[in-house]
Symmetry: C2
Subunit: 141 residues, 2 copies
């Protein structure tokens, strides 16, 4: 198995409300069919799909979905970008879980959740500079 | 906010067991400190981090973690790769949720979960060819 994730799919209760949240954060949808709302990322796509249909696709009861504790991180190039992005997420309908603050490993981070509880970290990591196009890897570019 | 996810973090109960699962699927760890186990992907990193520490980092009780219903997809280049990869995940300690089978939109997919319930789709999508280095976007490369 090669080291990649092709598609991150969120099982969603209110598709239009969730799409509106990500669009309010400046993301642009791809044209899609089959009831998916998709945002192309770097080398992968984030897809929104109705929770019940996703559970049916897998063959799990809805209550069995979302058992893993997953967070997503969005890394920024400067410390000054963290707080405004949290504020923007809040205006868009998200919830700030942790305000922008120093963290023990030397970074500067905050957390927000989207309207359905998916958790995002906004992180300035001074040890892992991003590539020009925003790609991240553990030891930086 | 640019269209990217820098880091996907799984909140994990048994770090070594989970690392062993991904290593059994041929993934190679990056050298890390601070108690994270990381695998660099294409333009992003998958990190394993103790669930309780992740919850503490965010400021949420552990029971509040993992509320979103998220799946990851690993897309392959041929239909013939789907079933063997599910079998490999099962041998590595995962569970096959849906065996390799045709799906209504014209693809050929299966699902497995890792030892802590994170759900992966293995998908052959004939409409979205991967880039040479395995990157995915909705309408293909």
């Amino acid at each position: 198995m090669e080291q990649r994730i092709s598609l991150i799919t969120l099982g969603v209760r209110d598709m239009e409300a969730m799409a509106a949240f990500y669009e309010a954060l400046d993301w642009i949808r791809v044209e899609t069919q089959d009831g998916v709302i998709a945002f192309d990322l770097i080398g992968q796509t984030l897809g929104l799909y109705p929770l019940e249909k996703l559970a049916e696709d897998i063959g799990l009861p809805v209550e069995e979905m979302g058992k893993g504790a997953t967070t997503f991180s969005y890394n920024v190039r400067t410390k000054e970008e963290v707080a405004p992005l949290l504020a923007k997420a809040e205006v868009a309908g998200g919830r700030i879980l942790r305000p922008a603050s120093d963290v023990f490993w030397g970074g500067y981070i905050g957390y927000f959740s989207d309207p359905e509880g998916n958790i995002w970290e906004v992180s300035h990591n001074p040890f892992s500079s991003l590539s020009e196009d925003g790609a991240f890897r553990w030891n930086g570019y």
